[in-house]
Subunit: 108 residues, 2 copies
């Protein structure tokens, strides 16, 4: 299976970038909501450092996750579909071959 991002039409690149953008916004909003809720329950310093560790991990994850330059659109999009930040409707406009690759990766 060839996973490299060769032969992406301009439309497909636009679809992929737009899907990434949507996903980033959804994931950021969910994270912010979670932190706002967790913060309400902080009563001791250990809770605060737990939140700090959690943010360190999420920041590291998010910083790398949307880096389509590094991983290639197929991998990035597949990861986001797997984690339910994107669904097939968000990928409309990609050619069948790419959708199949994305689907295959989400099943791994």
């Amino acid at each position: 299976m060839e996973l490299k991002d060769s032969n992406w039409s301009e439309l497909e690149k636009k679809v992929a970038k737009s899907a990434l953008d949507k996903s980033r916004k959804r994931e950021s909003a969910a994270l912010i909501e979670m932190v706002r809720n967790r913060a309400k329950e902080i009563t001791k310093l250990d809770d605060l450092w737990y939140l700090h560790d959690f943010l360190s991990a999420r920041r590291y994850d998010l910083d790398g996750k949307y880096d389509e330059e590094g991983l290639g659109f197929i991998f990035v999009l597949a990861g986001l579909v797997k984690d339910s930040w994107l669904d097939s409707a968000d990928l409309e406009g990609l050619e069948t071959d790419k959708l199949k690759k994305i689907k295959a990766l989400t099943l791994m």
Copy 2:
């Protein structure tokens, strides 16, 4: 000025440890309150990473700040008085010479 922790009576050590404990609790409570309030205002990812950076800095600071083994009681207590986490009432029981040293350090 001799700042080493020589010649501390058992009572004085107890006073110093109790003052440190009070200060740590006050400072932790203030920090938790601040984070809970800041968290309410987070609306975007940048705000979240700002909070993360802030927590990294405060954690580093707090981890070292109450380390009486490393710095000696006089320095630690002086720092906390300077930052208004302790006042003279919290240091009652220390001998005059130590109180003078603490006072002198808070003015530096």
